[in-house]
Subunit: 401 residues, 2 copies
């Protein structure tokens, strides 16, 4: 490939994986520039070797299940192919412009877990909802708080988000009523996709993260704050979250993020042994959140208090098994400043301080017709930056009746 054209950040240093519809059929693919290379056809043609799992795959799960050695072999071969001018003619037939192949959800999701690992986010939520108390609950600095979300409603970027209806009981009302959410929000998060499974009863040690995690996607954990506020005690969020969680269409493999690791914040108190890393590292991803045409906030992922390796170790320390396709997300990514928060709950401080968009309109929570797009970049090998696949979604009105 003499030149790679298209959106910056999708060069040879990136090569994220997805699934696209080729002639109507879901097909595993790797993205380069604004093109998708059909990996099923590439393996059938003998160009790449994933042990045969790509040929008939309709999701990335078979590749993910194959484990780190196969992930390395496939990536090395793709780098070789994309750097070899002699391969251009062969590849040309297997490449599809992205505009012509619709991306679909790239994995069959096993379990979906959502953490709550930004100290700034958790503190902001505490200050908004419990202004008279310590913003962080006593357990927060001891373990990565998390819960299970609905795996069956994880959708690919671009899927319209229908405003959910449900029970709400604003403080002004005596009893709850039913209707469309009036406080529809986003949560800008980073998700981790499990490739290699682990058996029931075998915790994954904190330093074995890379043996299991295949890659990273951006996540928008859409949240209906009014539904959530009424339902969440004592068993946590349920319908306020379960209507939709959007993920980027292309999974960035950990191998493309080798230059993105950075020191993670020091923890005080020190974590218990099972959460203590020999080398404590976070990922230096710079997120932006665009609300219609306005970038309203730029959350920094590097400052997360609990790292992805700690989250995985915690998730499995009770013996819970991992399945290929399990997805766990960081929780809302918020930095210390108001223009770095990852939710509109924080951006509008509980709805009290409206935000003005570029067109002059004001917002607290999402209006019908609004579009939210989360993007991110990360340092790449060679000194450049890669662009994580965006996660976008437009809000459509609640169903009537």
């Amino acid at each position: 490939m003499a030149t790679i054209e298209g959106t910056p950040g999708y060069g040879r240093d990136h090569l994220p994986y997805g699934v696209v519809l080729v002639a109507g059929a879901p097909t595993p693919a790797v993205r380069i520039g604004d093109q998708a290379l059909d990996l099923a056809a590439a393996e059938a043609a003998g160009l790449v070797d994933a042990g045969g799992v790509l040929r008939s795959a309709t999701t990335l799960n078979p590749l993910l299940a194959a484990g780190p050695a196969v992930w390395r072999r496939v990536r090395a071969r793709l780098l070789e192919l994309f750097s070899d001018p002699a391969a251009d003619a062969t590849l040309e037939e297997l490449l599809h412009p992205l505009a012509q192949v619709e991306p679909v959800l790239p994995i069959a999701v096993g379990d979906y877990v959502d953490f709550y690992s930004s100290e700034h986010h958790a503190s902001n939520v505490g200050r908004i909802f419990r202004p008279d108390q310590e913003p962080l609950l006593p357990n927060w600095r001891h373990l990565p708080i998390g819960y299970h979300g609905r795996a069956g409603t994880v959708v690919v970027s671009g899927t319209p988000i229908v405003r959910p209806s449900g029970q709400r009981k604003p403080p002004s009302q005596e009893s709850p009523s039913f209707g469309p959410s009036a406080r529809l929000d986003i949560e800008a998060e980073v998700g981790f996709v499990v490739g290699a499974p682990s058996p029931l009863g075998a915790p994954v040690p904190v330093d074995r993260f890379a043996d299991h995690v295949f890659g990273v996607v951006l996540v928008n954990d859409w949240s209906a704050r009014d539904l959530q506020a009424w339902e969440y005690q004592p068993l946590g969020p349920f319908l306020g979250k379960s209507f939709a969680t959007s993920v980027g269409a292309w999974i960035t493999p950990l191998a493309a993020l080798s230059e993105a690791w950075t020191d993670a914040p020091t923890q005080d108190p020190p974590a218990l042994d099972y959460l203590r890393e020999s080398d404590r590292r976070g990922l230096d991803l710079s997120l932006t959140v665009r609300w219609n045409d306005t970038v309203v906030t730029s959350p920094p992922f590097a400052g997360m208090y609990w790292t992805p390796a700690q989250q995985l170790a915690h998730l499995t320390v009770n013996g819970a098994s991992l399945r290929t396709g399990d997805l766990y997300a960081s929780g809302t990514v918020s930095g210390p400043r108001r223009d770095q928060v990852g939710s509109f709950l924080e951006l509008s401080w509980g709805g009290a301080e409206p935000v003005t968009l570029a067109d002059g309109s004001e917002r607290t929570f999402l209006a019908d017709g609004d579009t939210v797009t989360i993007e991110a970049t990360a340092p790449a090998s060679g000194g450049g930056r890669i662009t994580l696949a965006e996660v976008t979604g437009a809000v459509t009105p609640a169903r009537s009746g």
Copy 2:
């Protein structure tokens, strides 16, 4: 079949479905007496017609996905076969004694949701943990409280339960420590298995329960109360539950429970419209919980405040889709009396009142080596009773190190 031998409650009026290992391969089956009829072989031989989905099935999901019309056709045909003496010789070859075919998890679980729908259980928990306050939280009578559990650790009855380790912070300690749970508990529940899926954005009306739900299994939602107590605020139970959830090996189809429906308790305040049933019915299942050799409690399912139809309507009212294999459980089934509670937390009143077993030993929570078996019966057509497949599990010691 002139005679049906074996455990009472598995006659022609029952016919639950499962998956057993035949020559090492998972095979769909229907149970009659203490035998399993190989349904893959039966369909291959032209004896039953599920549209071909049983022949190569390794779980019940293809049958479940086929929908109510196929479920009715298959059951009618099985009843016909099991009532026809001329079919005996043919069936004989397809029947395996249960002792010779190991049952495995009968479904590939989609999402697992756990409700909290017994008023007695929720009130007991409130009294134990918040003795100075109203036992029920303000939302409890307005909606069926629930949350998502871990689908990947749903295991079949008989699977050993390794005592989980994790963080606990008893009130007597300043900071948390790591170690095996000291308050390992059960929750006796009834689970509902979704067959026919529903699309994203289409709530399932409360009166359409039987269009989607295939059948019923007993559930033991093992719970580490000390892990749960420390972790659950503000996002709900996580590692205190996610190590294992056991389900019965045989799914009782709704068709076998037609005589088991009974009036459900009147709700005050009346439920919102989307939760209001034209005919408000619960299931008259009588549960028993055996702790080693002692029946310690007998929870009645008929008195549950929120019905399975209300749970399904609530679960989907925000537009959440259903997938074949989704499992939702009732929450702990507790009746008004101490010998009717569905958890040892309640039985021992928070650990304060030990229980004496038949061998004279005392218990509050589970000891290593203990076995818990949950059983249930229900009224059947013809005036008899059917026996729901037991869910049993033995506690093994925590892993060392």
